[in-house]
């Protein structure tokens, strides 16, 4: 038993006894609760009927569980079209970022060429650029290109700003896969493309998954640029539409949170899915 826990990979030596492990677990669950609590409150509020929201002092649990909020919210606002916008923008930006970053990352990992260092420096530096800091410039550019209030503008911005991260992390993964593995595939009669799709890509799957989900979630949650360059309600993503439930004219916190949960839950599941890749990804990408 003790032997096994000592053989754990990396980290502090934890030869914790039973009691210590129980204390750790208790602290762990408390921490878990703190991290989930705001979203729990979100869910409980989303399940309260209108009149219970404006009761003071408030109650933790709804007296009357109003699951109807999750049905009515679709009629209360055009959130279905906002959701479509979010899905299209996040999906297409991810696709564009992947299609553009894969060849660049592969080529720079496998070849030495004039300008390689400059290219990698460009990637490393622009990785640090956030749309928020540049929102005035982005806005002026989209005005100049006559692209304000279009999905194309949102797609371009989300794809481009996530591109450096994708290149960096994929570059790291490709570079860590020995060239010899591909050469062995050539000896077995595989072509360049086959070697890439059958050997290299499967081995870099963790990096690929991380890049995809990172970009998707980044685009799905993007707020500032969408707030600035979209104006038509049916071209706004969920992040921009959601605050509209609570204004000086109406206070529909239950709808705001019902929609938020609809937006958050699928993404959290995606993220949990890559949680075990995240640690490797963070080690490979920049963080050494």
């Amino acid at each position: 038993m003790n032997q096994r826990s000592k053989a754990g990979r990396g980290g502090r030596p934890v030869q914790a006894g039973r009691g210590k492990r129980m204390i750790l677990a208790a602290v762990g669950y408390l921490v878990a609760f703190i991290f989930v609590a705001p979203y729990l409150e979100m869910a409980l509020t989303a399940l309260k009927p209108d009149r219970e929201l404006t009761k003071s002092p408030t109650t933790f649990l709804p007296k009357h569980w109003d699951f109807g909020n999750f049905v009515n919210v679709w009629k209360a606002a055009p959130i279905w079209s906002n959701m479509q916008v979010s899905l299209i923008v996040a999906g297409v930006s991810t696709l564009v970022a992947l299609v553009v970053s894969l060849p660049a990352a592969y080529y720079t990992a496998r070849n030495r060429f004039r300008g390689r260092g400059a290219f990698l420096l460009l990637v490393l530096v622009t990785q640090m650029f956030a749309p928020t800091a540049l929102v005035i410039g982005v806005y002026r550019e989209m005005v100049a290109l006559n692209l304000t209030d279009t999905l194309l503008a949102l797609i371009l911005v989300n794809a481009a700003f996530n591109l450096p991260f994708c290149i960096w992390i994929l570059h790291g993964y490709f570079a860590s896969i020995p060239k010899e593995l591909e050469e062995a595939a050539y000896l077995d009669g595989a072509g360049k493309v086959t070697a890439l799709t059958r050997v290299t890509l499967p081995l870099s799957l963790p990096g690929l998954v991380t890049a995809v989900i990172y970009t998707f979630i980044g685009a799905w949650n993007e707020y500032v640029v969408a707030l600035t360059i979209t104006s038509s309600p049916n071209r706004q993503p969920l992040t921009v539409a959601i605050p509209g439930f609570v204004t000086s004219y109406q206070q529909h916190w239950q709808y705001l949170f019902a929609t938020s949960l609809i937006a958050i839950i699928p993404v959290v599941i995606l993220f949990i899915f890559i949680e075990r890749y995240l640690i490797g990804g963070l080690t490979a990408g920049g963080v050494k």
Binding site: P57, T58, M128, I136, G286
Partner: protein, 314 residues
Amino acid sequence: MHDTVEARGAGVKAPAPPPSALRRFGRALAPLPWIGPAIILIAAVVLWPVVEMARTSLLRISSSGATIGTRGTGNYKDLFDETDLVSVLLRTVVWVVGVVLVTVVVSLALGQLLNARFPGRRIVRWAVVVPWAASVLMTALTWKWMLNNYYGVVNKILQGIGVIDHPVNWLSHPTQALMWMMWVAVFVSLPFTSFVILAGLQTIPQDVYEAARVDGAGQARTYFRITLPLLRPSLLVAAIINVINVFNSFPIIYAMTGGGPGSKTDTSTTFMYKLAFIGSGDVGESAAMAVVNFGLILILVLLYLRAVGWGREA
């Protein structure tokens, strides 16, 4: 024929004939099909706004967004004449330093916890990931609701345990609002930071700890003499990425107080946005603020490059 000769020549390391200018040119262009699209996308959508922003900061822009003419340094003069600017910049420093410092310290403990072995560790890791995946805007909105004067659970809980005796309207007092917003910023920064530290912890080989134990080092000594120094690279990178993210943090302040009352809870990021899009709207002056912000970020990027050791490996 020529090709085979060259290939054989390369094999025995005989001096190859110098490639013609045309061929050299062709070789220089060879990477373009691979990296060209990436360069175009980055140049057109990431670098163009930088140039456009700098250009706009020297232009006179009407409130409808049309360019009226050049203005020289007039926008910068207007910006530096803003009475709130100094307090906004000072608040930005407090915001960034405070949030990052607390985030890193708490993450050190959190990373250790996530790395320790206990039943249910998986679930705890999943829970910690949640604020990372959820939109920062929505997280900020739920905190705003929880802090509501009349209907929020924060007042209910604090009254219940006797910390306050009557409901407090937290977000209407600038100082208290700033404190709460800094807490929300810490809350959304913890997942990334603690996972970077967790990743760093897992790269430390077990033998180092064994050796320390053989030498009779205690737990605290082992931590401060071995773990912390070996975590330095991860910590440095996590800190700098956090500094940039927290500096750029817009949704928390914008959603919770809108920077108000007045500009009393603005940082330079929300201040920049409000200059352009709220009230009379002066895009030129806002661009000047953006250029100042961007200059600060560039300094941070240079620090980042030094931290990851760019130039040393190449």
